[in-house]
Symmetry: C2
Subunit: 233 residues, 2 copies
DNA sequence: CGCCTCTTTGAGCTCAATCAAGGTGTGTGG
DNA sequence: CCACACACCTTGATTGAGCTCAAAGAGGCG
């Protein structure tokens, strides 16, 4: 059966991710029972803010942005989820969970979607996996806090921080290209500024040889400079 | 033995808090094994940012602010913890945990301090309690996200949001006084602005009869107005 | 070709930061 | 008991980082 095959290969991918590090294949299969692999194309919405949350899951491929509506026009971006990130698991244990963010694909992406019941019956009974999730949440939290501590810093710092954070998603230190396609608008919506300001700062960096972008792929040339910017003020 | 008595009365208090709602007294006693009740006076530091985290615990009384150092002078305030809030539990399952924030008392406060081993041996083995903690974390997260979505909103909105959030800590809707003493500087450090700006906005509100403050106790007179401010833009 | 998204640049303006100065209340030591 | 330091609050004047508005070029796509 085709469906079965797809799930199996997805599970193989999962075994390589940090969340299931050290788990038996058997358990992972249980944890993904009833799961389906969803393909989303660029800008397609996976979950919608405020809707009843019947599923959670794991990013297999590509990236998603988590946004919240804000009256002032554009939605604010809360977080960028890349491969291996868990989305929606934190709220599965609520009584009547609603998604606290929109989840929108950035480029074509793949997601393993798992029904809430499986969380309740399998995940939430296994302390080791809840703790893994808690670690993911706590990492996300710590990123947000770092950002928050830079509220009074100039915009350059905030953008530099975002770039460094995204770069640190790779295990390997030598990779210098951001793991996801990123528009200036998305950067602005994440750091809470306007597109124009982001553009002004980044074109200055391009001229100075700090980074280069083609087709929304951002490559860092002078990492040291960015780190200095973050620490300086 | 005196120590025993203190702990016992602390456990009685805990049974009334939402985190241990529906738990047996027996389990709560295990969960607090080795715990000590700590008194901290105003401005005293309970935990220090970056230090090895050997303890976590629960606020019994009063309030604490969680801050992060930021090069630009004053520390940024990440969160205000009031009665029943759990501090530090999220990082207990890390390999070599360090406190990600300073924890500083706001007014004389009481805290039940529990050693890390108890977390590892008791808390982390009990899914129901990990889930409770996850809910607390997720609430805190959701507050931060709400704040983040207001990044582009004018300062008035941010302050109004903070006040409403703190007010919602009470179960009872009719209480209109903030549950903790709050200086203008602390408000500024939380929303990421300067003291002077906060003062300008709040004195305007005082004149308009939206709220009144005496001795750092803030009382809301016109809640509706604040809610409008948040929603308007 | 027209439509759309993304990027870019310039000009002007605004909100809130900064700087400066002064007021009040509390604690501390001579 | 007074002098001093310190924390907090207040108000005014000045300034600047970043926002808004406007206009336009560069792909990509049906």
């Amino acid at each position: 059966m085709d469906h079965k095959k797809v799930i199996n290969s997805a599970i193989n991918e999962l075994l390589g991710l940090s969340i299931f590090e050290g788990f038996e294949r058997d358990f992972v299969e249980q944890a993904c029972a009833g799961g389906t692999v969803v393909f989303t194309e660029h800008k397609e919405t996976l979950f919608k803010f405020g809707e009843s949350a019947q599923c959670f899951g794991i990013v297999l491929n590509g990236a998603y942005k988590l946004t919240r509506p804000s009256k002032s026009g554009e939605d604010a971006i809360m977080h960028f989820s890349t491969v291996g990130d868990v989305i929606g698991a934190f709220i599965m244990s609520h009584k009547a969970p609603c998604y606290p963010v929109n989840v929108i694909a950035m480029g074509p992406s793949r997601f393993l979607k798992i029904p809430r019941e499986v969380y309740i019956e399998v995940w939430s009974r296994q302390p080791s996996i809840i703790l893994k999730i808690q670690n993911i949440l706590s990492l996300r939290m710590s990123q947000m806090q770092h950002q928050k501590s830079m509220l009074k810093a100039p915009l350059t710092c905030k953008i530099a921080l975002l770039i460094i954070d995204l770069l640190h998603r790779h295990e390997e230190a030598e990779i210098l290209t951001l793991p996801l396609p990123l528009t200036r608008r998305e950067i602005a919506d994440n750091v809470g500024s306007s597109v124009e300001s982001v553009i002004r700062i980044m074109s200055k960096w391009s001229k100075e040889g700090v980074l280069e972008t083609n087709d929304q792929q951002i490559k860092i040339l002078n990492m040291q400079k960015l780190i200095e910017l973050i620490n300086d003020r």
